[in-house]
């Protein structure tokens, strides 16, 4: 049986399997958009391995965290920017 982790993405409750990354949880919440670029364009994950910083996101109030390198933990608050 899979252990389920509960997080929120922009206030919306999302349930994911243990071991799911923050970047994947954002996709599960129904959006591909992780951040807004300096010129206002939507951006999502690109490299998936912590190199490109496109998936930087606010986790529990800490800005600029890499969504693809961070695993979800219970009651984590994830906010796209």
């Amino acid at each position: 049986m899979k252990i389920i982790t509960h997080v929120t993405v922009n206030g919306k409750r999302v349930s994911v399997a243990a071991g799911t990354t923050v970047a994947a949880a954002v996709a599960v919440s129904g959006s591909a958009n992780m951040r807004t670029s300096v010129n206002g364009q939507p951006r999502g994950a690109l490299c998936g391995m912590g190199i490109c910083f496109e998936c930087r996101i606010t986790i529990n109030g800490n800005p600029n965290q890499r969504g693809c390198q961070t695993l979800c933990t219970d009651r984590m608050e994830i906010c796209t920017t």
Partner: protein, 441 residues
């Protein structure tokens, strides 16, 4: 500024940066008589190829032995989620950041096994969400991204495309096509060279069989992506004709490039784009070894062997019988590497896919129209802020290296962005001369 971060000093014997195939193999071989500290930025061992619990048949073939290292050795201490942002070769010290602490790590010997990343080339629409790397989408799916029923196009170059398409297919995605930029002639002659490498031949044949029904288009590459808030359509150029396909994801990688930033910052001499290493994987600097993709892109098998060679060298000065047989087998994988590079060499058309309004630097939103006025990397950086964002030019600088032949002139610390709190933890200590730890008995 939020709460202060504590600084912890660690005195280690052998430190290995990177827990992929090369780092694991080095850890296993060195741990026979040395104590090892294995560091990785990721949350688990395995590197990009063996990431997470999912092990495909392709990975099984090479994983078996090295995986034992992870489980058995008491002499291997592992730390994950640790990002090394600088090193001082003279003081034999690394500076790193973990989630809750800053780390000053002293070593007697250092093995750099920092692996490779994908090469991305800019083209119109490549910044839309759901346009990802080939290995990038695979990593995201391994991290829990659901792709069941999603329409995916896999594009770019190299054997990784087949492995990724196979993986996505098994995860329930509808792989609409594989677009390989290399010509049919090149790919076919590569298939012939595989005859010299029976294990790779079996893998390739098995992949092709499974993928039956997925078109594999050679001489084909993406020229445009479009969509409102995210990717909706990909346009491929196939035999000179534009083919537009509706899809949910584009998984696009044009090959692999080595992560040599830390080695360069520490002062290791380079050979072209790779870290120069001798017969036993020693770099130009004493006490620093370089193994795996950073010495030449050659895949997991080459990485395992180079890691093992370095590990053997760390425990004994004379080449043992097992080390000699590793040297022979490494030479074989190095020949595979050169066949690979020849076949999947990028065609010149790929260097000019970007249009004037195409973003090249994704961190700072700098367009090709602004960058192309400049004649080198330094000048472009100073005038446009290209390469000055959090990725530090890892994406655009690498792309411009291919498009323009521009070289990154120097690599300065920190090689990754670091929290101010972490730097504060080091305080004035960073400037002090730190005595090298005593040599092992």
């Amino acid at each position: 500024m939020s709460a202060p971060v504590p600084l912890r000093r660690i005195d280690a014997d052998v430190v290995i940066v990177g827990a992929g195939p090369a780092g694991l193999a080095a850890a296993r071989a060195a741990s026979t008589s040395r104590s090892v500290l294995l560091l990785d930025d990721n949350s688990a061992a395995g590197g990009q190829i063996w990431r997470g619990a999912e092990t495909s048949f392709l990975e099984h073939a090479v994983a078996g032995e090295a995986r034992g290292a992870e489980i058995n050795a008491d002499r291997i201490q592992r730390m994950f989620g640790v990002r090394v942002f600088a090193g001082d070769a003279k003081a034999r010290t690394l500076f790193a950041e973990a989630t809750t602490e800053a780390l000053e790590i002293h070593y007697n010997d250092l093995v750099l096994a920092t692996g490779a990343r994908e090469l991305f080339l800019p083209f119109p629409g490549w910044t839309l969400p759901n346009v990802m790397g080939a290995g990038g989408l695979q990593a995201m799916v391994k991290g829990g991204l659901p792709v069941q029923g999603k329409r995916v196009i896999v594009a770019g170059s190299g054997p990784l495309l087949l492995a990724v398409a196979d993986f996505l297919h098994r995860k329930g995605a509808k792989v609409l096509a594989i677009a390989e930029q290399a010509s049919a002639r090149g790919v076919n002659s590569f298939a012939l060279t595989l005859l010299k490498h029976p294990s790779k031949l079996v893998q390739a044949a098995a992949l092709r069989t499974r993928l039956l029904g997925v078109p594999y288009w050679t001489g084909t590459w993406p020229v445009e992506c479009s969509g409102e808030q995210q990717l909706e359509r990909v346009t491929l150029l196939r035999d000179g004709r534009r083919v537009e396909i509706a899809c949910d994801y584009l998984a696009c990688g044009f090959g692999l490039v080595p992560n040599t930033e830390l080695a360069q910052q520490m002062g290791c001499v380079m050979r072209g784009e790779f870290v120069a290493a001798n017969q036993v994987q020693q770099t130009s600097l004493p006490h620093i070894f370089g193994v795996g993709e950073i010495t030449g892109i050659g895949g997991a098998q080459k990485s395992l062997e180079e890691g093992a060679i370095a590990g053997h060298a760390l425990v004994s000065n004379s080449a043992s019988a097992s080390a000699r047989s590793l040297l022979r087998s490494r030479a074989r994988w190095q020949s595979f590497e050169s066949a690979l590079n020849h076949t999947f060499a990028l065609r010149p058309e790929l260097k000019s896919l970007a249009e004037d309004n195409t973003i090249v630097c994704r961190c700072e939103d700098v367009t090709w129209g602004r960058i192309r006025e400049h004649s080198n990397w330094r000048e472009a950086k100073l005038h446009t802020r290209c390469g000055m964002g959090p990725c530090q030019g890892r994406i655009c600088g690498t792309a411009l290296g291919v498009m323009r032949g521009w070289q990154v002139e120097s690599m300065r610390e920190p090689v990754f962005p670091v929290r101010v709190e972490t730097l504060a933890a080091f305080g004035s200590r960073r400037d002090e001369t730190v005595a090298a730890p005593p040599a092992p008995h």
